[in-house]
């Protein structure tokens, strides 16, 4: 087993960072790759991007938002606990150019993925501009970490509670308009955001990689749950991605596919909340 949690931190409400022992993943993982984990028997397999790695220490960092039953259960774990199953590194690594100006556009939890990318891009000698978006100030994560690596960091919030008010796409468009010579854009965040980032770069002919997050089951190319349409062709994101040419991705299809299990996921989370409340009530009863 192994996979022991050695550090945890709450980055924002319902958003946590875990550092976990996983020696081979720490040594072989690359920016853009992900892991699949399971927290309990009969539990779901969920993909999470490798946000950071420490090969010397043999640890990896995961950042996740508690949005469903599995991530909530994961969030309940503490330092010293072990993660039942952890497989990786999976997927292809980000293609890292050299000597280019690259803009990384992240939104929400997507900033966790921007972090290793900025790091890898800097190591390869690129000029890196990070544009980080969040709905509101308290949901903004990893700004400091990314800012300390990138040549320039622009922060936006939808409500203007911090940084620039508005969308990341506006900041990106302004940057291009102001004459910044952008060679490449990498984007990761909510699908709608990525769709508009790609729309913004397309007229300028700026190559744009989008990191896609379809539903996955095995993550090893065995089931096809993760299929996405890119340039009219079906691709398996877990083995051929997760990053694809954003100008060729069918984002609308991805949005529809991502929504398919929402009612079930909600039911599962509700069920879990109910169980936990009953458990808590039982405990109270026992003590009372």
């Amino acid at each position: 087993m192994g996979n022991k949690i050695i550090y945890t931190k709450e980055l924002a409400p319902k958003t946590k960072l875990f550092e976990i022992e996983a020696d081979h993943i720490a040594k072989r993982g690359r920016a853009g790759q992900f892991i699949i984990l399971r927290v309990c028997d009969e539990g779901e397999r969920i993909p999470l991007t490798i946000a950071n790695r420490n090969p010397d220490k043999g640890t990896i960092t995961l950042v996740f938002q508690e949005v469903g039953k599995t991530t909530e259960m994961l969030g309940q774990l503490a330092v010293g606990d072990e993660i039942l199953d952890l497989a990786g590194p999976l997927g292809k690594a980000t293609e890292i150019p050299t000597g280019k100006t690259v803009v990384c556009v992240g939104g929400g939890i997507g900033n966790a993925v921007v972090w290793p990318q900025v790091q890898a891009l800097k190591e390869a000698g690129n000029k890196v501009i990070a544009i980080l978006g969040a709905r509101t100030k308290e949901l903004l994560i990893l700004e400091e970490e990314i800012m300390s690596l990138a040549d320039m960091t622009i922060t936006t919030t939808d409500d203007g509670s911090y940084g620039r008010k508005g969308m990341v796409t506006h900041a990106l468009e302004d940057l291009i308009e102001e004459g910044e010579k952008v060679d490449e854009v990498i984007t990761i965040g909510p699908v709608v955001m990525m769709k508009f980032v790609c729309k913004a770069t397309e007229p300028h002919g700026i190559p744009t990689q989008a990191s896609l997050n379809p539903i996955m089951v095995d993550g090893t190319g065995m089931c096809g749950a993760c299929r996405v349409t890119v340039g009219g062709k079906t691709r398996f994101a877990c083995v051929e991605g997760p990053e694809f040419d954003g100008h060729a991705v069918d984002f609308d299809e991805l949005i529809t596919r991502l929504a398919y299990y929402q009612p079930e996921e909600r039911a599962s989370a509700d069920n879990y909340h109910r169980c936990r409340m009953e458990e808590a009530a039982d405990n109270l009863g026992n003590h009372g």
């Binding site: 199953d85 999976l90 096809g224 079906t234 398919y260 079930e264």
Partner: protein, 494 residues
């Protein structure tokens, strides 16, 4: 000369038909995931074994891909020496409880059985059923036929993939005294036996028991370790003296028709994985991986995987399960028993229907599947009559779910990270020589990754041949048998 040493007259059971096997009634079993055929009692197995006439030619042995001495084990069952019979089988096949359930006996041992005379209404010996009985007998009586383990050789072996090919190779090599480590990408060992074949056809407990037995023999299992990703093959091949690749045919094929990415379209692998490996039928109380509430479903294809998908779907209590296949009944590749069970369970077979489009319900999900009706034309190269469209005959099936089960290609995970490993360019399968050796000297391969999607028993047969060759390689540096030894070569698909 008079023969006064005449053998006592053999007792045989002259019944023309197999001793029937009790089953859960169709209407009961579609409400649960429990096993359908209930197996033989000792008496029934005994009676069935007595049908064997112990013919001289023993065609069944040649018909078995791993060459089990079938007449010998039937004879022992005929003497009620069940443990002896089990030992006999285990010489060649260490998973009888599994093979008895999933082997296509009607194309192998039972097809060539001397008794088999369908025109005279005579059925072959129920070899598979007796084999299964013995496997179950071992479990019920907690009989562990622990193989002798040779003294440690000090050699190390890595097995990549824990399907039947990998498990067989691992078990054989451990018996020969090598230190064996099995690497598996998923969180449970067994390959298709775990994630594909449903509980009602092969209870998982059987597999778990066999794997526990292997652990007792000293085989180490490393789960969640996708070789090629977690560690390059090159590194594995340096760390271990020999390597066996049994990564299977896990890449699902799609039809390439419009609408295939609509919500509600699954590969059989995804559908079966959700339900079997992840326990999705227990969602949301017993398991966390969701399976949608299905009302009307169409399964495309007619192999074992399609039957498994259709019958699994049936147990989720939909209104209707259609099976759609573009050829005729004669060409259906599934085991006869599975086809028969599917029919009993009320799966609605639609043969000579070829899907041409999956139609959107207006919300991005499946609304219907549109099929072209076909008729049989001239035989093609494979001798099968080719289906040809009947012009103007189009039929829509209103469904909310479509499961595509038209076969699968070699698993790409490992090969993608090791392009130097020689592969068949067209099929993507790994190329091996007669001794299961790949283009890398200390790397061997077998099972579906070599043959393309085939059968459990063929995968096991290849695992065994590879283990023999690997053993020779480890001990002498040459996988081929010395001139004075005999050695099996890989059983072939054709």
């Amino acid at each position: 000369m008079t023969d006064n040493t005449k053998k006592p007259k053999k007792v045989i059971n002259k019944s023309k038909t197999k001793v029937p096997m009790r089953e859960q009634a169709p209407m009961d079993r579609i409400m649960n995931f429990e096993e359908v055929p209930l197996g033989y009692t000792e008496d029934e197995a005994h009676q069935e074994a007595l049908r064997c006439i112990d013919c001289k030619t023993k065609p069944c042995v040649a018909g078995c891909p791993v060459g089990i001495d079938i007449p010998a084990f039937l004879k022992l069952v005929g003497e009620k020496n069940f443990e002896g019979a089990l030992r006999k089988i285990k010489e060649k096949n260490f998973l009888p409880a599994i093979c008895g359930r999933v082997c296509p006996q009607e194309d192998q041992c039972e097809m060539v059985c001397t008794l088999n005379k369908p025109d005279k209404g005579r059925e072959p010996g129920g070899i598979g059923r007796v084999e299964r009985f013995l496997g179950d007998y071992a479990m019920e009586h907690n009989l562990t036929i622990t193989p002798e383990i040779a003294p440690a050789t000090g050699k190390t072996v890595a097995i990549i993939g824990s399907g039947p090919a990998g498990l067989t190779a691992a078990s054989d090599l451990a018996q020969k005294g090598h230190k064996v480590t099995v690497f598996e990408a998923l969180h449970k060992p067994g390959g298709v036996l775990f994630y594909g074949i449903p509980q009602f056809r092969m209870p998982k407990e059987i597999l778990i028991r066999e794997i526990d037995g292997m652990k007792d023999m000293g085989v180490e299992f490393v789960m969640n370790y996708p070789v090629g990703k977690a560690e390059p093959l090159d590194s594995i091949r340096q760390r271990f003296d020999a390597v066996f690749i049994g990564t299977g045919a896990g890449l699902p094929w799609f039809l390439g028709i419009p609408g295939e990415n609509l919500n509600g379209v699954y590969s059989a692998n995804e559908f079966l994985t959700r339900v079997n490996l992840m326990g999705g039928y227990k969602f949301p109380d017993g398991a966390d991986t969701p399976v949608k509430k299905i009302k009307r479903i169409a399964v495309i294809g007619a192999g074992n995987t399609a039957m498994d998908s259709a019958r699994t779907a049936k147990r989720l209590q939909p209104e209707v399960v259609y099976l759609v296949y573009r050829r005729s009944r004669l060409e259906m590749p599934a085991r006869i028993e599975e086809i028969h069970h599917a029919e009993q369970e009320g799966i609605d077979f639609n043969l000579l229907h070829s899907p041409i489009e999956i139609i959107d319900d207006g919300k991005g999900a499946v609304g219907a599947i549109r099929c072209q009706e076909m008729e049989l034309g001239e035989p093609d190269d494979s001798g099968r009559r080719r289906p040809i469209p009947i012009e103007g005959k189009i039929r829509d099936f209103a469904v909310d779910t479509v499961v595509i089960s038209i076969g699968q290609g070699p698993n790409p995970l490992l090969s993608a990270d090791c392009p130097e490993l020689a592969r068949d360019e067209r099929r993507g399968t790994i190329v091996i020589n007669d001794y299961a050796q790949t283009s890398f000297e200390n790397v061997f391969a077998g099972g579906d990754i070599v043959t393309g999607g085939a059968t459990v028993i063929l995968a096991m047969g290849q695992g065994r041949v590879a283990a023999d060759a690997m053993h020779r390689y480890l001990m002498t540096g040459d996988p081929a048998p010395a001139d004075n030894e005999s050695g099996d070569v890989c059983p072939n698909l054709t």
